[in-house]
Symmetry: C2
Subunit: 123 residues, 2 copies
DNA sequence: ACAATTACGCATAAATTTATGCGTATCTTA
DNA sequence: TAAGATACGCATAAATTTATGCGTAATTGT
């Protein structure tokens, strides 16, 4: 398994967020789970661009870090559901704030991206 | 210069945040600049763990993306100051929310990190 | 029977971000 | 006049995160 090599700094609250929620789909996963899309397959359909294996690893980390609970039902056809923990719930205000910020400034932010040559051909 | 290869998805507001503010020190930089630490050397002293060249690139990107303005004074000893743009100001509520979340949950978040074998030896 | 669905995971490659070695230049202070 | 501060930047290495190839298993629908 992969091991971090660079020391982590946690003097500032912002850094916890970075260390724990940096994953490409993590905030979106928590968001959709809070909207009652609990099963991996549902999340998969909702976020088709997220590769299953990547999404999976991020869900695992969210569980490990205590933002989600995973319930595995031992039914004939395997069934899994995720739900927010208390810590996960506390994340929602952040997610909503960020989401709203993004939507409210969509136009300007899009221009910002377009100014950046790094993004040509990928937007 | 580096060019992105993987297409960017922008259906959701969260993704703008990710694309534009993912840098290791970006939020912290905006935060401290809002606190009136405007000069590179001041920021450097405030965040000694951030390498100058890394911090520099992140400042450049924040300027390019329209979160900061850079004022270069043509004095004998070179002098530079950054200030928040309107777009940068709009970031502050997010940053404060995230920062507070981190501080208020510091204990639990720290435990979360310690549960993760990936972090042993680096916290 | 055969395709589709549900779920999980290892190993490795590719992409992306951070870190560092090495340099430039001007001016102030001891 | 040497050390220290101010600021900037290229090239390359290292670290970290994402993406993908290849597989396993059980059950349902056609």
């Amino acid at each position: 398994m992969y091991q971090k090599k660079t020391p982590v700094q946690l003097d500032c609250g912002l850094q916890f967020f970075k260390e724990l929620l940096n994953g490409k789909w993590k905030l979106m996963l928590v968001y959709y789970i809070s909207k009652n899309l609990k099963r991996p397959s549902e999340l998969q359909r909702k976020i088709p661009n997220a590769d299953r294996r990547v999404m999976d690893k991020q869900l695992q980390e969210l569980v490990l870090h205590g933002f989600l609970n995973k319930k595995a039902f031992d039914t004939k056809v395997p069934k899994v559901e995720y739900e927010l923990t208390e810590l996960g719930e506390k994340l929602l205000p952040l997610i909503l704030t960020i989401e709203q910020w993004g939507e409210q400034n969509r136009f300007v932010l899009n221009e910002a991206l377009e100014k950046d040559p790094k993004f040509i051909n990928v937007i």
